[in-house]
Amino acid sequence: MAAGRTPLLEVRGLCKQFPGVRALHHVSLKLHPGEVLALIGENGAGKSTLMKILAGVQPADSGEYHIDGETVAFLNVRDALASGVALIHQELNLAANLDLAANIFLGREPNRLGFVNDKATHLEAAKYLKRVGLNLPTETLVGDLPIGKQQLVEIAKALSCDARVLIMDEPTSSLSQRETETLFEVVHDLREQGISVIYITHRLSEVKVLADRVTVFRDGQNAGDLSQEEIDHDAMVRLMVGRELSEFYDRKIHEPGKVILELDKVRSPAHPHTEISLQIHAGEIVGIAGLVGAGRTELLETIFGVTPALGGTIKVNGQAVHPKSPEEAISAGMALAPEDRKLHGLVLPMTVGENASLASLKRDQNNGLLNFEAEKDVANEAVDQLQIKTPHLEQVARFLSGGNQQKIVLGKWLALKPRLLMLDEPTRGIDVGAKREIYKLMEKLAGEGIAILFVSSEMEEVLGMADRALIMHEGAIAGELNRSQLSEEAIMQLATGTSLAA
């Protein structure tokens, strides 16, 4: 498409370094007018960092950035907007207590001597809302709209700033099927209007429907581009992981042992009217898929006692337990590597050693006194077994990369020899190398008879790692797929609440 013309947006040789992590390494990207470019890559491939640089949220360390062939250097989001580049965040940035018109013109209200010109605000807002297919009164409060519509408001807001490039970061991660279709229509319309879109997604099926071209990232570098004719599932995955799938997700099927975790009509505080029942066997790896907000994290946190169950029975190894706190869950043989590593998984200002031993201090104590020797053994074993890259045990955990931090969390739990290991987004923000090691570890632990329950938003991870997948929708388990039934389409149908037959 339009190969001869000057690209609307182009970056070359972009580099960005964070303490301990090389986020982007000589990255290039081109975007033509009226083009929808899909940007894909696994967690931690550098997509989000690139987006933030493009939209002026943070600066690059080095590299060139051109708009309309002219070099630009954005210092902040305002600069980027002035050049027509707008970022639609994954977490929307709207004020729920204000109406549509006020949100669209927030900070740029048409005014006279500081007094807002209400009439002009509403007239103008209506114009932009129409462009995204929202025919709602401009007096509607944003908080009263479902998430899908809020997203369209966000797009209208970007258009009102004369945006020519819309960067959409996983826009469908919390949308229903219906809302997703609406969004696709809007993206098509925008393309007709000459607006370019950079579309970041984890869902490869969306890429096929939407994109004119695909750029694939892997480990902070360009892994390759695919033109519209070349877009196909396997080709994308090969570029994303850099090898054949079977090699990346090295799974053996273990004969499932006895039931380790059993939930019978468990109700979590987040979804008090939904009952969840499930069984996980020893040696089994079970994935939980679903949209963001479907209640997956909440389910794990209820099992782990963070938000204790309101009703139903939880059994571990045949024994009824009702964890009211993680402390109780842990003594029942459970472990949870939480979704938010920095907030829940680790004590960042403490050292690698202190973090690795935190959960086992109680077991190894001498009448309340710290057992420094046992503590050191636990930490050393974690470092050795998981190949944590740290100069020494006294290194502060904050300075380690995401992958190594996740390994500390895992090491902390493995020291306790849990029967059930729960992992919430185990590879979020982790480079491909560490990712592969974590998959290998999961496989090894399953082989040792540990039951593994993991939540993932990454389709490939569920398809590649799970013996069985439970798909959640609005707090309930909408369906279960065994390995032979697993496919992206089947998961999406259950996750978005459309029946399999449809």
């Binding site: 706190s325 993680p326 710290l370 502060v396």
Partner: protein, 336 residues
């Protein structure tokens, strides 16, 4: 010694030397004994509040607890004629109970520590005044006082809590021995027990600690109990030290001295940091500054001002040091 403890120790030495050079009365045995005594009394309270600050909390009620314990002790012994040991046990239990209530309100009712202990400050002070009709009184009978029982034992207690032990020509105040025992126990608790580690962990990241299986509520309650117990012990020491306890004044603003000492001694109000040795030295620095102002003939009206400036400078220097070493650590991390 940690870097900031070393820094505050340097400050102590510097003020000490300057004052000693400028006024030769400063290093007289009498002045040194006084300095050690008052530093010890303040340090005991400061150690208590350090525990709470390490969890990321605060206790504003310390001064009022000191006052209440001193008043109730004297009241029981003088007005009610209760056996001194019973009075001591009662007041210590009372201070522990106060801490327990603080801890429960903060963890179970989820009220902010600032609010809980601010209300405590008001309530305990008012209780002291109401109980005694705002009349001053002491645990040791003054001339003409009546109502005390077991006078001989009271004199022994007076020696234990506010006596002096002759070591050659130097008379070591007994509160220093209290500080020694409490300081060593507290340092061992924080650095050598699993509970000490839990306090640091939850002070740095409460959720992270909870997700690791630590009963964070119980640990916080323990910290508040320790804090009020230390205030209670300080209350006993002050009660015997002072000839008469003033229900409206005894202990007033002591919480601020204690918090100041904890902060100057390396505790971050954000939680997760602190060293007992640092806090003890900082408490001594605060008393030393007060003493130096007197010794050097500086207007006592400037006392708070000078104290404020020293603490501010100390904390600013500490922040600079920290961001400097954080940058260096980050730079080191990027090299390989």
């Amino acid at each position: 010694m940690k870097k900031n403890t070393l820094g505050i120790f340097g400050l102590l030495i510097a003020i000490f030397v300057v004052t000693a050079v400028l006024n030769d009365k400063f290093i007289s045995a009498y002045n040194m004994q006084n300095l050690i005594k008052w530093s010890s009394l303040y340090a005991v309270m400061s150690i208590g509040v350090a525990f709470v600050i390490i969890t990321g909390g605060i206790d504003l009620s310390i001064g009022s607890v000191v006052g209440l314990v001193a008043v109730v002790l004297a009241y029981m012994m003088k007005v009610k004629g209760i056996n001194p040991s019973a009075a001591i046990i009662t007041t210590i239990c009372m201070s522990g109970l106060i801490g327990l209530v603080h801890g429960l309100l903060i963890t179970k009712a989820k009220i902010q520590p600032f609010v809980v202990t601010l209300c405590g400050l008001l309530i305990y002070r008012s209780l002291s005044r109401w109980l005694t009709d705002n009349q001053s009184l002491g645990p040791v009978p003054l001339e003409g006082d009546k109502g005390y029982t077991n006078l001989e034992f009271i004199n022994q207690l007076d020696f234990i809590f506010s006596g002096k032990i002759a070591i050659g020509s130097f008379n070591l105040p007994t509160p220093f021995l209290f500080l020694l025992v409490i300081g060593i126990t507290a340092a061992l608790f924080l650095n050598r027990t699993i509970w000490g580690r839990y306090l640091f962990a939850l002070g740095n990241n409460e959720d992270g600690a909870r997700y690791s299986g630590i009963n964070t509520d119980n640990m916080k309650i323990i910290a508040y109990v320790i804090c009020s117990l230390m205030a209670g012990i300080a209350g006993l020491l002050f009660a015997f030290e002072l000839d008469s306890v003033q229900p409206a004044q005894t202990g007033e603003f002591y919480e601020l001295y204690a918090i100041a000492a904890a902060v100057l001694g390396g505790c971050s109000l954000r939680g997760g940091e602190g060293s007992i040795l640092g806090v003890i030295i900082a408490a001594a620095v605060i008393r030393l500054i007060y003493n130096s102002i007197n010794m050097l003939g500086i207007s006592t009206h400037l006392e708070f001002g000078i104290l404020g400036i020293v603490i501010l400078l100390g904390v600013v220097a500490d922040e600079f040091l920290k961001s400097y070493s954080a940058k260096r650590a980050a730079a080191k991390q990027q090299e390989p």
